[in-house]
Symmetry: C2
Subunit: 266 residues, 2 copies
């Protein structure tokens, strides 16, 4: 029954919808049993990496919020899209116009943003106003060769007050308006999972991804050769179980149940 | 040289970018020579229909603005998406949640909007806030069989203060988030051009569409068997002349030049 959990040395955990349900500005509520589950993973000797597409805050602020909710987590354990995007921008000499949450801007402190030659879009939430989206659009359409970099391509996520559109929806709007294809940094990009695995020092066949997103978490991790488990928390919807392309290695009701099964196989 | 203009009995004119450049709230500026060009068409005995995807105002308000800018135009001469959408909603017993400009809402006065079972999206402009887009998204994702009706699918348009994202970009955002395909009412839908032709009483082979949008105006009209001319005003961009799918029957610098050529062939 829990054959999917065998011979594992490292776990990648999605955060929002797995550890907690986010609640907009600084808020959120832990999912029952998840803080204890993180402690049990750490006590077990398994390697652990938090692999998130969170772009509403710097990693520092994000981690502080999670610590406040009772989680044992540090900045050094988090793989997130903004630092990956900064590396890419520097490598290619790109100067971004940022359409991101105010609280993420400090992650780009060392990037030249004068005279932009690309647009970086993240989960800007309330900043996704008509005016701000038009501004990003005008930068893109004015470039001879438009470059759009998207921090994830999630469709939506769940906050304590309901489902919210994620960056992927706005990425699609700009893609269509400018007739370009975005380059996605973050899950489900293969390079993103690979850097998380490298940071853990665990090969894909010995790692399991645990997430609530059938495409970004499960599909992306499986593409990298990992096993992937979908939790029935967060944005999980029963219709995910009939997804035409992606089939998780297992379903679990929540993170605590996943950890029970994995530890019982060790 | 002007062979494209022969044997014509009726003209379909796009409005924004052909007659005038719109300017947000109630404003705009006529394109030089276009008001005179409309008068010359009417004096020539050619049938004339204004075929617009405008959804920022009721036809009454829209026509009043154009009259104020010096155009000879009446409500009865205008084919627009909102009335076409109302017919479709009634035929199929659909009750819309509206994500449209405040000024368009009166067009839906006779439609039941309680307990919505579909979403209608138009060019909502400033109303395209994060909160409003989330609200429409939640209605859609909550339906057993999501139905999204889009009043046009334009990528962007030009106002006096610059390019603005059009309804098509936001339609794509909702399509992606909810994994649905929108039904488009308005240009370039074939049924929309056909109803404009029927209202004129002219068959497609005797009609010419004049527009600034290579896809919605030119491509859509050609699909219906009409000739179509692109003006180099409004949202026209030189790169349109290398469009991979659509090739107009002719380019003209503006409406006045198109009318010169057409009348010289009569």
């Amino acid at each position: 029954m829990a054959g999917w959990a065998r011979a594992v040395r490292g776990l990648l955990l999605d955060v929002s919808g797995v550890l907690y349900d986010s609640g907009g500005e600084g808020g959120g509520a832990p999912i029952a049993g998840s803080a204890e589950a993180v402690r049990r993973i750490k006590a077990s000797g398994l390697k652990l990496r938090f692999c998130t597409n969170e772009t509403q805050a710097t990693r520092e602020k994000f981690v502080k919020k999670l610590q406040g909710l009772g989680f044992d987590i540090s900045v050094a354990e988090v793989t997130a899209p903004a630092p990956a995007a900064c590396r890419l921008l520097k490598e290619r000499g790109l100067r971004p116009h940022l359409l991101v949450h105010d609280d993420l801007v400090p992650e780009f402190a060392e990037v030249d943003r004068t005279n932009p030659n690309c647009v970086v879009i993240g989960d800007a939430a309330e900043k996704f106003s008509y005016a701000n989206l038009n501004e990003a659009f005008r930068v893109l359409i004015g470039l001879e060769k438009p470059v759009l970099i998207s921090l994830g391509k999630g469709r939506y996520y769940k906050e304590t007050d309901g489902l919210k559109l994620d960056v992927g929806a706005y990425m699609k709007a700009l893609e269509y308006a400018c007739d370009v294809q975005a380059e996605v940094v973050g899950k489900p990009a293969k390079a993103f999972f690979e850097s998380a695995l490298a940071e853990m020092g665990v090969p894909p066949e010995q790692a399991i991804m645990i997430g609530d997103d059938i495409v970004s978490d499960v599909g992306g991790a499986q593409q990298c050769g990992m096993r992937a488990v979908q939790v029935r928390t967060g944005k999980y919807r029963p219709s995910d179980e009939n997804h035409p392309q992606v089939k998780p290695d297992a379903y679990v009701n929540n993170l605590a149940e996943a950890v029970d099964m994995i530890l019982s196989q060790m």
